[in-house]
């Protein structure tokens, strides 16, 4: 199994290199180079322009330029932004990467989990109004024009629901319609947004880890203590973090501001991927339910819940997990659109924004990071598959 993972990592790295070379050639296909911007400047002669081009290494043959680009990239030099001159690209991207990563992870995990549960029950309750409703919902979410969905959610939550809640209950959520934070609030903040945000991420990671460990440990203790450990770990880790953020950290207000800005983008992206996952789980579950071992389980007189959750759903999840490879890039595309619609400064919004002002150093960096994210996603899916399907582990 480790050799399989190692092989996949090497493959992934080669793919990344090929991808970078391909994108470099793509940018290179564009006529002219950066020195053409200086043509209109009477102080800079043609000879001077040629010298600048030579200084920048633009006069060499294509392979040597690709080599320069790659060596620069792997030593952390992604060039400088033209638009925010002289801010280095790596700095711009590094402040934005954690946001996109969080958005992407949250939406992927949520939509997979929700789609799995919804698909499982829909396959079980086959036929009738449920089937029609679920198919229509699934296909609508799967094919709806993403910006339209985002705006509908914005209108629904940030306009209608928000004003309704403040009218009826007097609680003002003030759900924001764009950006990552409220600048007027953060002016007095003791830390910057990214610091608080990274604490939140680490906190979330810790919660997931505690729950996971509790789940694993709970399989090795006497049966009657299991629910206590499982529920206890969830309540304690989440409750403890909430108490820490609210009363001890001193930045609870700021964290709440970030959460409010995160809510709608995550909801949008989750809904986009949810439709496909639900439909696929349903199809795969229907197929599994026709297998002979389900019949056997029924003949044995097992409870319905056990057949559904243990016999059928665990096998039905495999094709859905495989399809994650394709839906990952859908989610990332959806993320680019979502970030742009919400003016939420992550990697996707940076890509669109830098392309629209022809800031190609930033665009290339963002594109490469998106590629790396997808690759890592694929790797995680592959490794997860090894754990989900024991048949692969043995070979």
């Amino acid at each position: 199994m480790w050799s399989y993972i190692g092989k996949r990592i090497v493959q992934m790295f080669i793919t990344l290199l090929l991808f970078q070379i391909a994108t470099y050639i793509l940018i290179d296909l564009q006529p002219g180079d950066v020195t053409d911007l200086l043509i209109g400047n009477p102080d800079i002669t043609a000879a001077e322009r040629a010298r600048i081009a030579a200084d920048l290494g633009l006069d060499g043959p294509l392979p040597s330029r690709i080599w320069t680009y790659l060596t620069n990239f792997y030593t952390g030099n992604l060039g400088v932004s033209m638009q925010q001159y002289p801010r280095p690209v790596s700095e711009i991207l590094m402040t934005r990467l954690p946001r996109t990563f969080t958005l992407f992870m949250a939406a992927t995990i949520l939509s997979f989990w929700l789609g799995y549960i919804a698909g499982k029950f829909l396959a079980w309750k086959r036929g009738g109004a449920w089937e029609y409703a679920s198919t229509i919902t699934g296909v609508t979410l799967f094919t709806i024009f993403t910006p339209l969905l985002a705006y509908i959610l914005l209108w629904l939550f940030a306009r209608q629901l928000d004003s309704w809640i403040s009218d009826t209950f007097g609680i003002d959520f003030d759900l924001p319609i764009s950006k990552f934070n409220t600048p007027s609030l953060w002016r007095r903040a003791p830390y910057d947004t990214n610091t608080v945000f990274s604490w939140m991420n680490w906190n979330f990671f810790a919660i997931v880890m505690i729950i996971l460990i509790a789940l694993i440990v709970s399989n090795y203790i006497p049966r009657r203590y299991r629910p206590a450990l499982r529920i206890g770990s969830v309540v304690l880790s989440i409750g403890g973090s909430l108490i820490w953020w609210a009363f001890i950290s001193g930045v609870g207000l700021y964290a709440w501001d970030i959460v409010k800005h995160l809510f709608l983008p995550i909801l949008t992206l989750t809904l986009i991927s949810f439709g496909g996952n639900m439909l696929l789980t349903r199809t795969s579950m229907l197929e599994t339910l026709r297998e002979d071992y389900i019949e056997t389980a029924r003949a044995k007189g097992l409870p319905e819940g056990v057949i559904r959750n243990r016999h059928a759903a665990r096998n039905a999840v495999l094709p859905v997990w495989t399809a994650l490879v394709f839906s990952l890039s859908n989610t990332i595309s959806g993320g680019i659109i979502t970030e742009t619609v919400f003016s939420w400064p992550g990697i996707g919004a940076t890509l669109v924004q830098s392309v629209s002002v022809s800031d190609f150093a930033v665009a290339m960096g963002a594109l490469t990071l998106i590629g790396i994210m997808t690759l890592i996603g694929h790797l995680i899916v592959d490794i997860g598959y090894v754990f989900l399907d024991p048949r692969i582990r043995i070979h």
């Binding site: 793919t15 090929l18 991808f19 391909a22 994108t23 793509l26 940018i27 296909l29 564009q30 198919t135 296909v139 609508t140 799967f142 094919t143 709806i144 024009f145 993403t146 910006p147 339209l148 705006y151 914005l154 209108w155 306009r159 319609i177 229907l286 197929e287 026709r290 490879v325 394709f326 890039s329 859908n330 990332i332 595309s333 680019i336 659109i337 742009t340 996707g348 890509l351 669109v352 392309v355 629209s356 022809s358 190609f360 665009a363 290339m364 594109l367 998106i370 590629g371 997808t374 690759l375 694929h378």
Partner: protein
């Protein structure tokens, strides 16, 4: 002499007659299967509705509509100087912020979408079937090279590449269709079509064709490709969905230089700040937004229905 030639022509026409009869028979059988499924019929209905819009637009402009007023790109109605204006008898879906008639814009854009869809899908299908057939038939190095390119393309979200490409080059609808077609040609469909081709490659009739002296070219184009067509048709529908969606997103983000499209209508609405004014300015948001959704989901639904015909395994569980 005359006898033999007339014989030959007779034989030829009867072969064509037989082919036509077979084609009609299989088409009728497939149509019966397709018509069983309401999902596919709904999709087909939506597509026909938009085709009707495409056909009606030039007719309307030549007869009822004054071209100066109803021009989708720079029309202006002197009778409604305040724009955007809500729907009225003169403008059934209201007018855009710059004064164009929204219904006219909608109908005109539908034509662009169909051009894009047909072109992108044709490129995709021609290339995927050829690539899949070649990879499966030859195997070895050719197979490896094609499949590694496919891996590379699957890995990267197509939208991010399209964003960069449309920022680098000013693409027209036709060029965009070619780029989208090319990107999806190296997508997941090639993997599926290749595996299908692999299973056809070992069928006895391929062996028979080889024994009868058929060359590689003949076998690929006469025996392999026709048998890949049903599944290719299926992927054609899905690639149309992708093409319409991508074009709309690029236009919506303001990265596309086309004269008018549904995405551009939404882009204008967004740039002028009307996009969240659902109750007063719905006619600037929903006609275009829903058209994109409906047309791309229609092709998706037809694809799903075709899926059940092509993969009998899925039929009537």
């Amino acid at each position: 002499m005359t006898n033999s030639s007339s014989n030959r022509s007779n034989g030829g026409s009867s072969v064509w007659q037989a082919r036509w009869a077979l084609f009609r028979k299989s088409a009728a059988a497939n149509w019966a299967l397709f018509a069983e499924n309401p999902v596919g019929l709904i999709g087909l209905g939506i597509i026909l509705f938009f085709l009707l819009l495409v056909i009606l637009h030039p007719i309307l402009l030549n007869t009822v509509w004054d071209p100066n007023v109803y021009n989708p790109i720079n029309g202006f109605d002197p009778q409604s100087p305040v724009n955007p204006a809500p729907p009225s008898a003169r403008h059934l879906l209201g007018t855009a912020p710059q004064g164009q008639d929204i219904l006219s814009q909608l109908m005109f854009s539908a034509r662009n979408e169909f051009i894009l869809a047909v072109l992108a899908a044709t490129v995709t299908v021609t290339m995927t079937t050829t690539l899949g057939a070649i990879a499966a038939y030859y195997g070895g190095v050719i197979d490896n090279v094609i499949m590694r390119i496919v891996d590379l393309v699957i890995m990267v979200p197509a939208l991010s590449i399209l964003i960069v490409v449309s920022g680098l080059f000013e693409l027209s609808i036709v060029q965009l269709a070619l780029v989208i077609g090319l990107i999806s040609a190296f997508g997941a469909s090639t993997v599926v079509i290749k595996s299908q081709a692999l299973s056809i490659k070992v069928k006895p009739y391929i062996e028979a064709a080889r024994v009868a002296g058929g060359g590689d070219f003949h076998i690929i184009f006469r025996h392999l490709l026709p048998n890949l067509m049903p599944i290719a048709l299926l992927y054609m529908m899905f690639s149309v969905t992708g093409a319409i969606f991508s074009e709309a997103v690029l236009a919506f983000l303001g990265l596309l230089e086309v004269d008018m499209s549904w995405g551009i209508m939404l882009n204008t609405t967004r740039n002028l700040g009307f996009i969240l004014d659902f109750s007063n300015r719905w006619y600037l948001i929903f006609p275009a937004g829903l058209s994109i959704t409906l047309l791309s989901s229609a092709f998706y639904l037809v694809g799903r229905a075709l899926d059940e015909i092509v993969n009998p395994r899925l039929r009537q569980r």
